[in-house]
């Protein structure tokens, strides 16, 4: 607090009237509430997962059996499934989302921009169970009858595209997640690009740059930290998404290299098994999965932030 007082104007450090003081107290309380909440969450999860930690130790992170009857629990298939499905989603969603954002911010005729931007926000608001149902009834049959046989015939020499085409599986989960994440990436990236000052573009154009060069050098470079922030937001959603993924991933706790094979994610197994988990150790193992998910989210976010810093400047996340 003392450090802050020396660097900010006196009016902020010592509010003069009651209203200012009250506001300060209230806002400080709301800000600390977030910290308290996170700490309380982590503490409670650590406490509740202690029985599983004691029973399995580090083995929990390195074994892949999930047998609620015999009470052998290992988290590997869930870790693997969460990471693979999320990165598969980003692989599809980032080019799509950024492309759409660049089009909307830089190229689209003015009368097109508003309706498309509105549609993007509409898509972002669709509940995930709707995506899940659509995944079961539309996407999975489509994948099974057309996409997977075609991929198997052309790229079948890769272990990624082998095995029977169920429709349901890791590929379906990745695609569903990509569809859910695209609107987030598009909406935030578009805001970032719109916030790039016009003087940037004018300067590039004045130097004789083409349209693409202007976009690449003057706009994208300028907004790169914000764009990474947009992708991070998308990744965050993909890591934690539960319902839609559960409905299409096949829910099989197994590490399979093929994208056609069913998988499982951390969020899904918690949602699936928590309500009927009757034994204490079982429940505790599920909570430890939750703790692991929290840790993965923190680590992935931390790594991404390092990446952002290394390309210059802290992340600027525009308001949604």
């Amino acid at each position: 607090m003392a450090v802050v007082a020396t660097t900010v104007p006196a009016t902020r450090a010592a509010p003069r009237n009651f209203g200012d003081r009250a506001l300060r107290v209230v806002l400080t309380a709301t800000a600390s509430a977030i910290v308290v909440l996170v700490v309380a969450l982590a503490a409670e999860m650590i406490r509740a997962s202690l029985p599983a930690v004691r029973a399995f130790g580090w083995r929990f992170l390195f074994t892949s059996t999930w047998d609620p009857v015999a009470e052998h629990f290992g988290a590997v298939p869930f870790l693997y499934g969460t990471l693979v499905s999320s990165f598969l989603a980003l692989l599809i969603a980032v080019p799509l989302g950024l492309g759409a954002a660049i089009y909307l911010a830089e190229l689209a005729p003015v009368w097109v921009r508003a309706p498309i931007a509105f549609l993007v926000e509409l898509v972002a608001a669709v509940p995930s169970v709707i995506y899940g149902l659509w995944g079961i009834f539309v996407l999975a049959p489509l994948l099974r009858t057309w996409v997977q046989p075609a991929l198997g015939a052309t790229l079948g020499f890769l272990p990624l595209f082998q095995g029977p085409p169920y429709g349901i599986g890791m590929l379906a989960a990745g695609i569903i997640l990509a569809i859910m994440v695209v609107p987030y990436i598009t909406a935030v990236s578009r805001e970032v690009l719109l916030a790039v000052p016009n003087s940037q573009r004018e300067a590039a154009l004045a130097l004789g740059a083409t349209r693409w060069e202007t976009t690449r050098i003057a706009v994208l470079r300028y907004g790169r930290s914000g764009l990474l922030g947009a992708i991070l937001l998308g990744l965050g959603r993909a890591l934690g998404e539960t319902m839609a993924v559960t409905m299409v991933i096949g829910n099989r706790p197994e590490v399979a290299l093929s994208l056609f094979a069913p998988g499982y994610t951390m969020a899904s197994v918690i949602a699936n098994e928590f309500t009927e988990a009757t034994s204490d150790l079982y429940l505790s193992a599920l909570i430890e999965i939750g703790l692991l998910l929290l840790a993965v989210t923190v680590i992935v976010n931390g790594l991404a932030r390092l990446l952002v810093w290394s390309v210059g400047g802290p992340v600027r996340r525009p308001r949604e």
Binding site: D67, A70, T246, N251, A271, N272, E273, L283
Partner: protein, 347 residues
């Protein structure tokens, strides 16, 4: 202004407090499978006895057992009986009161939706991954006259922990020693093969969309959605179609050997007409009620539920209790006490 507000407040408090004093609120929590009929019963019962109101949270059997053991609710509900260990951990003796029956059926996706017959050992070997093709000789032997394709069987099971899964694997465990040893029974198990679907709708959705799929769902769900269902060979050697009548017959078959505490598995019961994959769902109540008013109301409700209440089961596609079992429940309800005194007079 202040007096007006105070007056309004007094009015509101008065109007809310009046019925709250007269009414007894009984809280319960537990299984989701019987939730539709429980809410129907609570609704109908309040019409008969306006003094009592029920609040039931369908949070899952595991939650129901936990909450009733912690005494945060007045009664629990579960699709699977409590284990001896769980009963030991409860603060005082808990009774299992059967309410209705549910059945689990095998549904499949084959061209022309033929009527299929299965025996328990064939089902177990399919779910163990030992029978992988529809035209396997063991399946065709049971289904003379049906042409089965040379197609892989895609097994679909529930991915969420559920009473439906418990009944299904309980049956497989009884039939197949190999299943019992490798997989066992529980609300979730380590499936040897197959895809997982969330809820009845997830399983039936995958079965509908996947040619060659074989899965299991609740009887009520299969009937409502007109899914193809298989007849299963029962302990008497007959192939029985899953219906409400054959489900009730399963409990009737087991009535003679009913254990005193009703913690019984009804799968593969004796009886010519019995459908072999069926189960009770239970309410969990304390034998010695901690509160006289609530206890008396609860006991009255249990009596009504096991008699008049059973007529609502059919409409909601639950199988009603057979009369032999209702007699046994009557005796059990009479054992419920408050401070050692029985709460229901011997009729």
């Amino acid at each position: 202004m202040k007096t007006v507000i105070a007056g309004l407040l007094a009015l509101m408090v008065g109007s809310f407090a009046q019925p709250a004093q007269a009414q007894t609120l009984i809280n319960g929590a537990g299984a989701t499978f019987p939730y539709p009929i429980y809410s129907k019963w609570f609704d109908e019962y309040t019409k008969i006895d306006p003094e009592v109101r029920f609040n039931y949270q369908s949070i899952g059997s595991g939650g129901g057992i936990k909450q009733v053991s912690a005494r945060t609710v007045d009664f629990g509900a579960s699709d699977g009986p409590m284990t001896d260990e769980q009963l030991k951990h409860a603060p005082s003796e808990l009774l299992h009161i059967p309410t209705v029956l549910g059945a689990v059926v095998a549904t499949y996706n084959l061209p022309g939706a033929p009527k299929l017959k299965f025996s328990g050992d064939v089902l177990a070997d399919i779910f163990l991954g030992k029978i992988t093709k529809w035209d396997d000789r063991r399946i065709t032997a049971l289904n003379a006259g049906v042409s089965l394709p040379d197609q892989p069987i895609v097994v679909v099971h529930r991915s969420d922990g559920s009473g439906t899964t418990y009944i299904w694997v309980d049956y497989l465990s009884k039939i197949s020693p190999e299943w019992q040893q490798k997989v066992g029974k529980g609300t979730s198990v380590n499936w040897p093969v197959g895809l997982g679907g969330k809820g009845n709708e997830g399983v039936s959705g995958q079965v509908k969309n996947q040619p060659g799929a074989l899965g299991y769902v609740e009887l009520a769900y299969a009937v409502k959605n007109k899914l193809p269902v298989a007849s299963i060979k029962n302990a008497a050697g007959k192939f029985v179609e899953p219906t409400i009548a054959t489900t009730t017959a399963a409990a009737a078959g087991a009535a003679r050997s009913m254990p005193e505490d009703f913690r019984v598995s009804l799968t593969n019961p004796p009886g010519e007409e019995a459908y072999p994959i069926a189960s009770f769902t239970w309410l969990l109540v304390y034998r010695d009620q901690p509160n006289e008013v609530k206890g008396r109301a609860l006991v009255k409700f249990l009596w009504w539920m096991s008699h008049e209440g059973q007529k609502y089961a059919d409409d909601l596609l639950y199988a009603p209790l057979p009369t032999q079992v209702v007699k046994q429940i009557e005796a059990k309800i009479k054992q419920i006490t408050y401070q050692g005194k029985p709460l229901v007079a011997a009729r």
